[in-house]
């Protein structure tokens, strides 16, 4: 039985990624139409989570649009973070959550986000061992990166509104960065 009291909770907000190898850490997040990819290497004992929302719709990987690049970037940061902590790409396993159709005006953004994650993982040859995407409700998600255990709660009413509000909060526009590095 997992001793919940001893666990340290690390929250992952939109646009972020976290990698841990501490068995006492649980990663958590709140998802509306956003998607979180949870990945781990069971042998190396390291795991992590990212959380992204790709704006717009029908932005397939092949389109190569800015939103796609941003999603690929967040996936790459998570994978690089895992590899740095000793994970091996061929041992990675993933779970995908989120992508709900929380309110009508988000149209199919959630679905597109889930589709993106699924396509990316398939192209990269990373095994998807669990998925809970779509639906009308947001999710509160907990992921134990070392065991790979995930738990989710459907958000309804006030909680769901909070999740949506969180996603609608102004965030840095997911655009390719031009100024992160000085050219020489």
């Amino acid at each position: 039985m997992i001793t919940e009291a001893a666990t340290r909770r690390v929250h992952v907000i939109q646009g972020e990624w976290k990698v841990v190898n501490d068995p006492d850490v649980v990663l958590s997040t709140i998802l509306g139409s956003c998607v979180a990819a949870c990945m781990r290497d069971p042998v190396a004992g390291v795991g992590g989570m990212n959380h992204f929302l790709l704006p717009g719709s029908a932005d397939a990987i092949s389109s190569g649009g800015d939103a796609t690049r941003y999603g690929v970037h967040l996936m790459e940061l998570l994978i690089n973070g895992l590899l740095k902590k000793g994970a091996r790409r061929e041992r990675l396993e993933a779970k995908i959550f989120g992508g709900a159709k929380t309110i009508a005006r988000f149209s199919n953004v959630g679905e597109q986000n889930a589709l993106f994650a699924r396509q990316f993982l398939m192209d990269e040859g990373i095994q998807v061992v669990g998925e809970s995407t779509g639906g009308d409700h947001g999710r509160k998600l907990e992921y134990w990166p070392l065991s790979g255990r995930a738990r989710q709660y459907a958000l309804t009413g006030v909680e769901a509104q909070k999740a949506v509000a969180q996603e609608q909060r102004p965030r840095p526009v997911p655009k390719p960065v031009d100024n992160a590095i000085e050219f020489f």
Binding site: S62, R69, V72, H73, D123, E124, V177, D178
Partner: protein
Amino acid sequence: MSLAEKIKVLIVDDQVTSRLLLGDALQQLGFKQITVAGDGEQGAKIMAAQPHHLVISDFNMPKMDGLGLLAAVRNNPATKKAAFIMLTAQGDRALVTKAAALGANNVLAKPFTIEKMKAAIEAVFGALK
């Protein structure tokens, strides 16, 4: 034949998706001769066997990273003059300094726009069209 069509490019990245995106971007810029490699070691082998004019390589890769590949390319008389653009997902000043010391022509932070990639290539080769 445009300049872009004449330039042989080698893309080196361990992520399939990143290779696809970069390949698409290069095709949009008019490049026709594009080769891909999945890590630095494979990239170095391809360069040694079949020199390319331009290498666009990720930094963080298994086996041999981008800096290792850059050193290998610069140490081989047949490829030492090839243009080398390093890509990095983590904007890191120390990496830029190391890449510059090893003779990289440019370092681009991911995610980059096609325009940025075009500018980085044109800074080495001149106007593509």
